[in-house]
Symmetry: C2
Subunit: 206 residues, 2 copies
DNA sequence: ATATGATTTAACCAACTGGTCAAAGATATA
DNA sequence: TATATCTTTGACCAGTTGGTTAAATCATAT
């Protein structure tokens, strides 16, 4: 069992633990995750988990922050940028799907967290600068300019996020129901980069 | 602690258990649920759970079937009926949202199950008669008739389901981010009965 | 009244869980 | 080489969990 890394640089025990913990937590959720399994995946003794991170909660917290900070800032930055609404919809669809393609488990992870500790999620979003009012102002402005028909920011954002995230959460069911294989599903996901912006933009374009 | 029902009819111990189990399982998921908590909620001794249902798994299975059979047949029936695509989109949006309004926890429950046992879900859906090919045939026909632009059935169904379900799963986050109170959120959900069909139909209408 | 079967309970158990700890290995420093 | 510090380990612990069981209670028919 050689978990030692050849370069001897970044892959120390702590990194090993974080990687294992991320895999187990995102796949099983907090309740379903076992410290022993994380230790096994990392190839180390269970006590080491508590040596580096005091407790299961603290270890989870570390993963949680890591995940949220690699995931959401980019998307929120786009939403809060001075692009047009249409451009924002296109960019978020592309970035969000691309990111989820590389980390397919993150969607389930975040949804697990919604039912376990939604307040922390909200706090984290607000911390990164997410604010519905900015989008609402932009919608009002573009509606007055005759570009779009008015819509509540909550609806637009809910539509955008749900259309991007859902296929990653429901993947097993969608694959099972449609008979798609892995390649076909990847193509399906890729197509959504076009379909989602088309759907949302067509619906609000004047 | 009077759990006895006055009518003396349907609310026997078994019903009491099912009701409690449904509440606990849907809110906490299988891993997060505790048999003791279910017993407490039902106001009975924990051993009675095992008297009526052999194990936690069996009890969960009972809830799972009950939930799926009260929830999905109606929506799938609409999708498989001889209505037009636009009518189906409108009816499913309305029925699905209305059903989730009355059972807001079901969305989270089903999503928990997707990561725990997706095969069972797929099997159940197929059992109820869900079939993507029927929708695909209809799409092709209506596209050839010049009513809509062609789209994969997988995309259309994924769009429809995700737009309906997402606000119920992400409710705490959406409320926290937007500052909506409970009444405002109910209104928000109600509005989606119009917005979802509008969004999806506008996007595929020729 | 009482025998009989179904229901309910308190007490208990083995397995598992997160977490601790003392001791053993490493590693660097002197 | 001796020593001090950091890392890693196996053994262990207390609390929790799903599940069992023998006895008590209740209902019902005779």
């Amino acid at each position: 069992m050689d978990n030692v890394n050849m370069t001897g640089l970044d892959s120390n025990t702590e990194q090993l633990i974080l990687k294992a913990a991320r895999s187990v937590f995102t796949n099983k959720g907090f309740d379903g995750a076992r410290m022993q399994e994380i230790a096994d995946v990392a190839g180390i003794n269970k006590a080491l988990l508590h040596y580096y991170f005091r407790s299961k909660d603290k270890l989870f917290e570390a993963i949680f922050k890591e995940v949220l900070n690699t995931v959401f800032p980019k998307i929120i930055a786009v939403l809060m940028s001075p692009l047009t609404l249409f451009e924002k919809i296109e960019k978020v669809s592309y970035n969000y799907i691309e990111m989820l393609k590389q980390n397919p488990d993150l969607a389930i992870f975040v949804f697990h967290e919604i039912s376990r500790n939604p307040e922390r999620l909200v706090g984290n979003f607000k911390n990164v600068g997410a604010d519905f009012k900015i989008i609402q102002t932009q919608i009002t402005k573009e509606a007055e300019a005759g570009i779009i028909i008015p819509i509540k920011a909550e609806h637009l954002i809910a539509n955008l996020i749900s259309l991007c995230v859902f296929p990653f959460i429901a993947r097993p069911v969608l694959m099972g129901m449609s008979g798609m294989n892995k390649d076909e599903y990847d193509r399906f996901i890729e197509e959504r980069k076009q379909i989602i912006p088309h759907t949302l933009i067509t619906a609000i374009k004047k």
